[in-house]
């Protein structure tokens, strides 16, 4: 079974802090994703990565950056957290970008005060 883990289930940060959200997958998947989930908006893609050190912007990249130094690990970085970044963040991975099922982590609920 594919396992996708995220470093924290719940996180509380203050406005202006730098925030790191970590995601690790154990199935040697090439592709990894970061989504943001908000009520009434579904899931929206922030960034994805198709290889180590490679990244592509999704639909809402503003205020975020990512890092992929190792194949199994994909980090989401909030350079200066703001209250409008309070949300649920989901990481996912997949083997084939065009056709495959994406496997999700448990999510990190981030609150920015």
């Amino acid at each position: 079974d594919v396992k996708v883990t995220q470093s924290s289930r719940y996180l509380v940060k203050r406005t202006g802090e730098k925030v790191f959200l970590e995601c690790v997958q154990d199935m040697d998947h090439e592709n990894m994703f970061w989504y943001r989930q908000d009520p009434g908006l579904g899931l929206r893609l922030i960034y994805f990565s198709y290889d180590v050190k490679m990244k592509e912007k999704g639909d809402i990249p503003e205020g975020y950056s990512v890092s992929r130094e190792k194949k199994e690990r994909f980090s989401l970085i909030l350079e200066s957290a703001s209250t409008n970044q309070t949300s649920m963040y989901l990481c996912a991975s997949t083997l084939l970008l065009s056709t495959d099922t994406q496997y999700f982590g448990p999510g990190t609920r981030l609150t920015v005060l």
């Binding site: 009434g40 899931l43 929206r44 893609l45 065009s98 994406q102 999700f104 448990p106 999510g107």
Partner: protein, 112 residues
């Protein structure tokens, strides 16, 4: 732009009954993939079922089946013999090569 619409924000069904969740999408592509994902309360999002657009036969996974109408761009999910464990948020998603486009979700409550 490709979009996915779930017009039912919330639904309720009695245990053991059948319920259908609606999903429509908009695309000019001919070959694509469609998914239903389930997110139980405070638990991980998991795949329920997937459909390849080039297949005419509707996908089925145990109590879950889809009604895929390609011309109408409709992809509904039918849950038969509903169980309490089916209580969850259900997301319909369309695979645009490179990313999934999600609907806004339907919160399904199965009542005992």
């Amino acid at each position: 732009a490709q979009t996915v619409t779930q017009s039912q924000p919330e639904m309720s069904v009695q245990e053991a009954e059948t319920v259908t969740l609606s999903c429509t999408y908009d695309t000019s592509e001919n070959n694509y993939y469609l998914f239903w994902y389930k997110q139980p309360p405070s638990r991980q999002m998991i795949l329920v079922i997937r459909q390849e657009a080039y297949k005419q036969q509707n996908a089925t996974e145990n109590r879950f089946s889809v009604n895929f109408q390609k011309a109408a761009k409709s992809f509904s999910l039918k849950i038969s013999d509903s169980q309490l464990g089916d209580t969850a948020m259900y997301f319909c998603a369309f695979m645009n090569p490179g990313k999934l486009i999600f609907g806004t979700g339907t919160l399904l409550a199965v009542q005992p």
